[in-house]
Symmetry: C2
Subunit: 356 residues, 2 copies
């Protein structure tokens, strides 16, 4: 095997249509990208049946039988961690910690994956909390948002570090040279928000080398006002799900409208190519994949209900993150923190220990 291949550990058993959707997605990806190698963890019999169908997977995979050990979506994370050491999910993460793989993808139980990943890989040196980071489809292509739900409560320093990680992520995933960074708030004025926001505002403003925009509001995410939107995991998760719910409702209403009469159906037929092209822009399958960022290893969560196209898209993300060594870049940004630690201390002191 070529040592310069990107090796991806694949939890083949996580998600609604696993292992079929996972393997089909890997096969689609392998058709387009040649320097990829999969270590597939799953029930050998079930996996092999699907692998055998794809010529593109030939010579670019190995299969590790995890028998019937699977983490269920209903498993509480700590139970999954205690009892699931032989599961496809655990083994895939372990492959990253043992340097067998460059990165890992799973479509399984998010909370279990997060706890396992943090347990097995540990947090990057100098970092206080890992976060969930994803890309929101929007007017200008997409924006990177974090935290999407890992941390219910955050302090200013957590958000500050999320901003630096989001900066790196946007460079890789959005291919931006100098991504603009916004802190999510309920107004654009400096006086808005909680104490927390005023603190993180002052901290980010003090850092050179980053493109800090200031506060952004809920609607700025879709407008694309900034490339990165930083928030706590509670707000991030609410906003993510509310937006997904709204987009889903709009799509459902549109489908109902286009099915409500014969003329509407004919109209829909005529407009179908245009509708498909345009709605591909906000198709979540095309922006599938959220990274657990801030760990000693790359772990990406694919949406549990993804089909092969969604899995292929998530694999594209995993591949890029590994190829560009996302964690090395984050460590370099964290150096910035250390460099700025004095500066930050001074700001916090000036703010009267956070009374900014």
């Amino acid at each position: 095997m070529n040592e310069r291949m990107i090796k991806i550990a694949l939890d083949a058993m996580g998600g609604v249509n696993a292992p079929e959707s996972i393997i089909n997605g890997a096969a689609l990806f392998a058709q387009e990208v040649k320097d990829v190698y999969f270590i597939i963890y799953g029930n050998a019999k079930a996996c092999h049946e699907h692998i055998a169908k794809h010529a593109s997977l030939k010579n670019c995979y190995e299969l590790v039988d995890t028998n019937t050990e699977v983490i269920l979506d209903t498993d509480p994370p700590l139970k999954a961690l205690r009892r699931g050491r032989d599961s496809s999910m655990y083994k895939a993460i372990e492959a990253v910690s043992q340097d067998k793989a460059d990165a890992c993808l799973s479509g399984g139980n998010t909370a279990a994956l997060m706890v396992m990943a943090q347990w097995v890989l540990g947090v990057l040196t100098g970092l206080k909390k890992p976060a969930i980071v994803g890309v929101y489809p929007n007017r200008v292509g997409g924006c990177v948002m974090l935290d999407l739900g890992a941390n219910t409560e955050c302090e200013a320093e957590h958000l500050f570090q999320f901003a630096l990680m989001g900066d790196v992520y946007a460079k890789i995933v959005l291919k931006k040279h100098n991504p603009s960074i916004g802190v999510l708030n309920i107004g654009e004025e400096e006086s808005k928000g909680k104490q927390l926001h005023k603190q993180v505002y002052a901290m980010l403003k003090a850092v050179e080398n980053i493109n800090f925009y200031g506060y952004v509001e809920g609607n700025d995410i879709m407008k694309g006002t900034t490339d990165v939107v930083v928030t706590d995991g509670f707000s991030g998760n609410l906003v993510l799900k509310a937006s997904e719910g709204t987009a889903k409702l709009c799509t459902e209403f549109l489908k109902e409208a286009l099915n409500s009469s014969w003329t509407a159906k004919i109209g829909a037929y005529l407009a179908q190519t245009a509708l498909k092209n345009t709605f591909a822009k906000i198709d979540p399958r095309n922006v599938n994949g959220a990274m657990f960022i801030g760990l000693n290893g790359i772990v990406v969560k694919s949406h549990g209900s993804s089909d092969a196209i969604g899995v292929k898209s998530a694999l594209g993300l995993v591949y890029n993150l590994a190829k560009r060594s996302v964690n090395t870049l984050i460590m370099q940004e964290l150096m910035l923190i250390n460099k700025h630690d004095n500066l930050l201390s001074r700001i916090k002191k000036k703010l009267g220990l956070g009374n900014g």
Copy 2:
């Protein structure tokens, strides 16, 4: 003048197209509803020009000249309060406090309106904080959500009282007999969320006579899982704006798609009736109007960019709230709080002073 009329104090100068849109909206409303009387506050010359065009307004209005005193969208709320005592906004609120009007509608500066309304009217006895409440268009028609931005930080008792006010509001606005109430959180399990959420969960669960569902997530708002969604003003504002932004983006993408080719344009032409009917369901103009709930008087904010149809829709809300005496009903619900105060104290004690 018939004393059983619903008298609405109208800030004719607030909003982008004021006073034209406000007066045209009032005229549209007066075409359909006969027991309404407007006290119009604004620049007499500018207002009269538009009033004169509408036969429907004849004999159902009086005009109070506030000359050129107008609160600007850019005025900081405290400045507006200090210097704006002769403004159309202040006068309209004052009419409610002086019992000249049953309720007030303004499309002006939200923060200024909120501060003025609280200053002039005061908070309902027994209530800790007023909130902004509105209706979200969704799969089942709509859900009542509060707080949408009045209170950045909330305690459990605030959210508890918001739930009771939301209950009353949903009875009037959604015409629900026994509205279901959900607390916005990042998971449905009882263990999810912050301390605050666990406390308010325990408090609401303990109250009889209300239909408490439990936690709801961001996407439940659009699904219509509950009739009322309770949250703090920070989260509520983020979610509101993110959803509005998403709906706007979907609509824009749809328009672009239907304009992108000749066949798409013909298709759009054929489907236009169906599209219009369906998108009316999520047209914000049809659910325009957010109440500042919890004050000694009814004050409703109309969206600043509303056209006449939006203003008419907000007037329908104001009219219903006044006709049904929303504040009397809230006071009756607050009695419940007093009745339950012992109960709540016991719960909080049982939870170890909030260690629930």
